[in-house]
Point group: C2
Chain length 343, copies 2
């Protein structure tokens, strides 16, 4: 399983509408056999999105099943995580066709009596990536013990591209032969990496403890030079700041890469201005400093919505304002950020 | 039920060892009929602890049952929250005697097959205060809408006395006829207040959303003048900082009371120095400011372990350092802090 993916992205196949779909199509391009999306049906993924995947986009579950997927991936991540009612039939049909289900939704498919029964009858697994684990570790500042250098992506808002930047850093490390491990902390990251934990679903007291444990486990032999931790939320986003700080204090990064959407001046979901970048650099470093000295070493700029020339100007302004290397990792790759991380 | 309390504090009956026991004995003194604690058996609660309760301390569950308790309260809150094995027999005997159980442990008694079966057979309820609710609200900065002034206790460490200070503020408001409501956010606060939510057990993404909802609900008619929110953890404690920040960004306090243990220079459970108080004042205000302007208006000083004259000097030094009123609320009451909150 998990080698022939069908992505469910119904009606939400855009860079910000279906983060899971976009990232799987970029970072696991070779494993995606089809995308279910009525709006863009008949085209290929690479025609609609900035991704290498040539997977076909289809309108119906029957068409999708012709591509012999082994796994249906629920490719959407709304704030509340609820399962849209109209998708039940798609999931039902996939299970009946023997297709495993991987879900990052807050509502657990395995707890749905109909799906659970159907899955058992057809020998299919329902993987709810957000289901919290049983253990209840408490963080105690032990992440400092890793031999590897710890790197965390942090953001000026949620949904700016922290996961994306993390996987681009991993790609850059791979290209240069730098031994690394990636700690996925969200459902999409887990789908790409094949390991990790969806930390936003863990009871609040244990988030930092779980992050600490994952980071320490990533330091296993052969020792990596880098541990790249996928960031979550933003230190000033009222909905998610608690998760962000737990992640920061659990991972205790030596280096942080700040991710910013250059087109955005107000936070998503709330009416709140995004402070200047220098302010963010100072805030992330200061809230970490009493526990561990870690620095913001570069900015990953997401220029979505800007023209190429606007993007270039924005990046130049950001480098000027922060004195740090600023990179659009989607087009340039994360090589320069990796150098800053290793410096 | 819940009017004749038996407190289980086995071997941990000290100000810092059994926070739940101490706070129930102080703030619900009239409702406690006995305390189960081998070490101090034979004495009264008020002889062992700075509390008004005259409840007897007994060594065995048989002695305890002679006081006809209607509810056993598990009076301990260790970091991991696990149920000590030797307490199973005490809980078993209480259930068999028809005594309800209220537990703030992370391990849910209701999920224990033996306890669940026994409780059903004896018509007894097992209230697991840390069991997370079903709803999944996301915070969106709406706490600002309350007509009441919002007050949050914040700390320089965990286990310094934030809940204690919150209930003392409520007592001061009651004495002065200031309409107020208290939002309990931990199991002990819930036991005292009879409402609230144990936020550290909620999935991390929903902590701020739950706090926001509780604060908005507390603003119900007749409109209170103050909403006092019980603080949790500390912004710089690696184990709990995520909960602290979610609480801050969910409640969006107009005023904060900083709680500090004057005898303490390193954080509990981790080897980490506690920064100076002025630094804390600035940190709490700065991490709140982009969402809402709220100020630290006073310091609740916990002088445990200091002599009275040492305590007086410490408090004077703190007032000098911060320029804010500093008060040992356990001896002086919270009247001066309440004035600062209302100013």
């Amino acid at each position: 399983m998990n080698k022939r993916l069908l992505i469910l992205a119904d009606g939400a196949l855009s860079v910000f509408g279906a983060k899971t779909a976009v990232c799987l199509l970029r970072f696991r391009a070779q494993d995606v056999v089809a995308v279910l999306d009525r709006e863009h049906a008949g085209r290929r993924a690479c025609d609609v999105l900035p991704v290498p995947a040539e997977a076909s986009i289809v309108a119906t579950v029957d068409e999708a099943l012709e591509y012999r997927p082994d796994t249906l991936v629920i490719g959407i991540a709304p704030p509340g995580g609820q399962l849209p009612a109209e998708w039940r039939e798609i999931i039902r049909r996939c299970i009946q066709a023997g297709v495993h289900i991987v879900s990052g939704l807050h509502t657990f498919l395995g707890d749905d009596p109909e799906f659970a029964q159907l899955a058992a009858a057809h020998g299919v697994t329902l993987a709810d990536l957000r289901r919290p684990p049983e253990d209840q570790p408490i963080a105690s500042r032990r992440a400092r013990e890793t031999r590897a250098r710890r790197v965390l992506t942090v953001g000026t808002d949620c949904n700016v591209g922290k996961m994306f930047a993390t996987f681009e850093l991993a790609a850059a490390a791979r290209e240069r032969g730098v031994r690394h491990r990636l700690v996925a902390t969200g459902q999409t990251g887990m789908m790409i990496e094949g390991s990790g934990l969806t930390i936003d679903r863990i009871p609040a007291d244990f988030v930092a403890g779980w992050v600490e444990r994952l980071v320490l486990e990533a330091d296993a032999d052969p020792a990596p030079k880098l541990i790249l931790v996928e960031g979550q939320g933003s230190l000033l986003h009222p909905s998610y700041s608690g998760v962000t700080l737990a992640l920061l204090h659990g991972a205790l990064p030596d280096a942080m890469v700040l991710v910013h959407h250059a087109g955005r001046d107000r936070m998503r979901y709330v009416d709140q201005p995004i402070p200047p970048l220098r302010d963010w650099v100072r805030r992330y470093e200061e809230i970490l400093a009493p526990l561990h000295v870690g620095k913001v070493v570069g900015i990953a700029v997401n220029p979505h919505g800007l023209s190429p020339s606007e993007a270039r100007s924005a990046i130049a302004r950001i480098e000027d304002e922060t004195g740090l290397p600023a990179v659009d990792v989607a087009t340039e790759g994360a090589g320069r950020l990796l150098e800053a991380v290793l410096a």
